[in-house]
Each structure stands twice: as structure tokens, then as C-alpha cells.
Amino acid sequence: MTKQRLYIVIGAVLVLVAIGVFVAVMYLSNKAPEGSDPATGSTNPFGQMLTPGGVSGTGTGTVTISTESGESVQVPDFKKGREPLTTPNGNYYNLYGPEYSTEGFTFSVQYGEMDSQFLVMLISEPIGSARTDAEAYLRNLLSLSDQELCELNIDISVTPDVNEAYSQYSDLGLSFCRGSVTLP
């Protein structure tokens, strides 16, 4: 092999390596760290476990929902990949919750499309801890700050079979929002 050919081969190898490094850097910079909250970058305690149905807070599409005061907010498309429960009064989406047994579940979340309502049911004691789990789930699902979540139509309640005393409240509220009920 002549010296000239050797330089050509080395140059080609260097070009290929440079292209490879460039592609790898581009790929890694676009990939969010797994299990992180896309809004805050903080660690998501649930990873992908609580977003069954192919929906996660890092989805590519967005959907518009209404706040309690009627303003519009864009959030990741949490409806994508989920079958709506169609009723004459509008569509509901079962975002998270048990199928046959509540074992292992601390809460469930249902979304009512007609009034942009997230209905959270606490289904295990201690309900304070269950609410914390639900808050982390909503934060991750919607990629919103606590302050922004307080603006949404989110109802948190518990049925008498789980906690008789706190079932007397129509809405327990998110723990970090004004007027919320302190839970055990």
C-alpha cells in the first residue's frame, strides 16, 4: 500500500468515526432520562409503572384541557392509546386504577372529558400517603407544577368503605393547594 492510499484510508476511518460520534451525541441529547419528571427533571418515583396504556408525560402530542376558571392549558396527550368510556353524557378515560382487585393500588384516576375533570379516588389507607402517590402521578402525567395543578378541576375523594370519616368531604383537595384537607 502506498503512503497516499494509507492517508486516504485513515482519513475515511476518521470521517466515519466523527459521523458516529455526532449521531450518538444527537441521540443522547434528545433522550430524556428514564423515570424523570419532564417538567422538573426530578426523579419520578413511579418510573413508567403508573402510566399503563402507552401514555406518559413525555408523549409527543399535546391535548388542551380547561382549568377551573375556564382557561386553556396544553398538556401531554394523556388520552393517546386509551379507549374512552363513551356515555351519552360524554367520554371518560380510566387513566389509572385496578382492573379486578384493588390489591397493590393506592388510588385511581379517571378523566371526564366534558368538564376536564380529573377524579381521584383514594383506595387504600393511609389515605394521606395515597394522595401523595396520586399527586406524583398527576404531576408526571400532565407535566405541570404544583401551582398549575391547583388551577385544574381535580377532585380527590374517598368512599366510606375506605375511610368513613373523610368520605364526608366532597373534595379533599391536593395537599399543596389552598383549602385542602389535612389527611392522616
Binding site: S108, S167, Y169, D171
Partner: protein
């Protein structure tokens, strides 16, 4: 308390009405899946629909696909529930959507076990739908008012729905 704050600021009219319901879970709902307006046609009157709204809210909180936390088959290895949906229909006792759900079980209530998996799953699916659940709730209500729901008494409805001859209780008909 917080509910009142929300209703004052909500442009959508809030979620409860101030009269006709008990506190908290026994409230008559004006929005969501347990809204009484959803039930007027099925239950035949506004009064019955408001009672239905109370039962619905106390039973499921308006979660269409609610799975019972307490109605669990004790001997089921997976500890699965036997009551589902808005009105928490007990599938060991009630048919839904034309399916003979009690036939899916050996035994009833807490001691039940599933003997027909396919039928059990079909029944659960129907019980978790609004139409299937409400249809059976209406049929049960027409048979026995709210007495079959434990929340009927809790919400003060089982008492109100007693027999028209109840006023005769305590009155001796013997000479």
C-alpha cells in the same frame, strides 16, 4: 368547605347542590358520572334521580370503573372483587347486560369463588360500563328501592323508602 370555595370560583357551576343530599359522599351531584341529571330518564323522576345520585356517589365517588375495596372474594387467590362500577353492582347476586353473572361463581358474596373465568370477565366489563351498571341499578331500585345498598341507610334513603304501610308500625291492629 373547599367544595364551596371551588363552586364560587368555578365557571362550570360546581358539582353539588345544597339541598336534598347528605354531606360528603351522600351529596346529590350536579356534574360528573353521578350527576342526577344523568339518571332522570332511567329512574323515572327527578326525585329518584337525586337519590340515585347520592347512592352512586357514596358507592363509587363517580368512578365509572370502580372496583370494590371491600367486596372481595376471600378464597380467591388474587383477592378479586365481586362488586363493580358506579352503583357497585354485586355480580354474585345480579345479572348485568343479559349475562347471568351469578353463574360465574361458586357461592355468593365474600365466600364466592370464580368458576367461569370468561363469564366473570364479561360481567366485570359490563358492570364497569355506565349503561350496564345503571340498567341493573334501576332494576334493583324498582324491586326493592335502596334497601340492597348499604349506603342507602347511610344516606338516609332506605328509611325514607320504606313501605307505604310503615306508618302502621307500633299501632296495634288487635282489639
Amino acid at each position: 368547605m373547599r367544595r364551596q370555595d371551588k363552586e364560587q370560583t368555578s365557571k362550570k357551576g360546581g358539582g353539588t347542590v345544597g339541598t336534598g343530599g347528605g354531606p360528603g359522599s351522600c351529596t346529590v351531584k350536579t356534574s360528573g358520572a353521578c350527576s342526577y341529571t344523568n339518571f332522570v330518564a332511567a329512574f323515572g323522576s327527578e326525585a329518584a334521580a337525586k337519590q340515585a345520585s347520592q347512592i352512586c356517589n357514596a358507592e363509587s365517588g363517580g368512578v365509572v370503573q370502580a372496583v370494590s375495596k371491600t367486596d372481595i372474594m376471600r378464597n380467591d387467590p388474587q383477592k378479586r372483587a365481586f362488586s363493580f362500577g358506579l352503583f357497585q353492582i354485586n355480580l354474585t347476586q345480579h345479572a348485568v347486560g343479559g349475562f347471568n353473572c351469578p353463574a360465574a361463581f361458586n357461592g355468593k358474596n365474600y365466600s364466592a369463588t370464580v368458576k367461569n373465568e370468561s363469564l366473570y370477565r364479561q360481567c366485570v366489563a359490563v358492570a364497569k360500563s355506565v349503561s350496564g351498571n345503571v340498567q341493573e341499578a334501576v332494576a334493583t331500585y324498582k324491586r326493592s328501592n335502596w334497601r340492597e345498598w348499604s349506603t342507602g341507610k347511610k344516606c338516609g334513603l332506605a328509611e325514607a323508602e320504606r313501605s307505604p304501610l310503615a306508618f302502621l308500625r307500633g299501632v296495634s291492629l288487635m282489639p
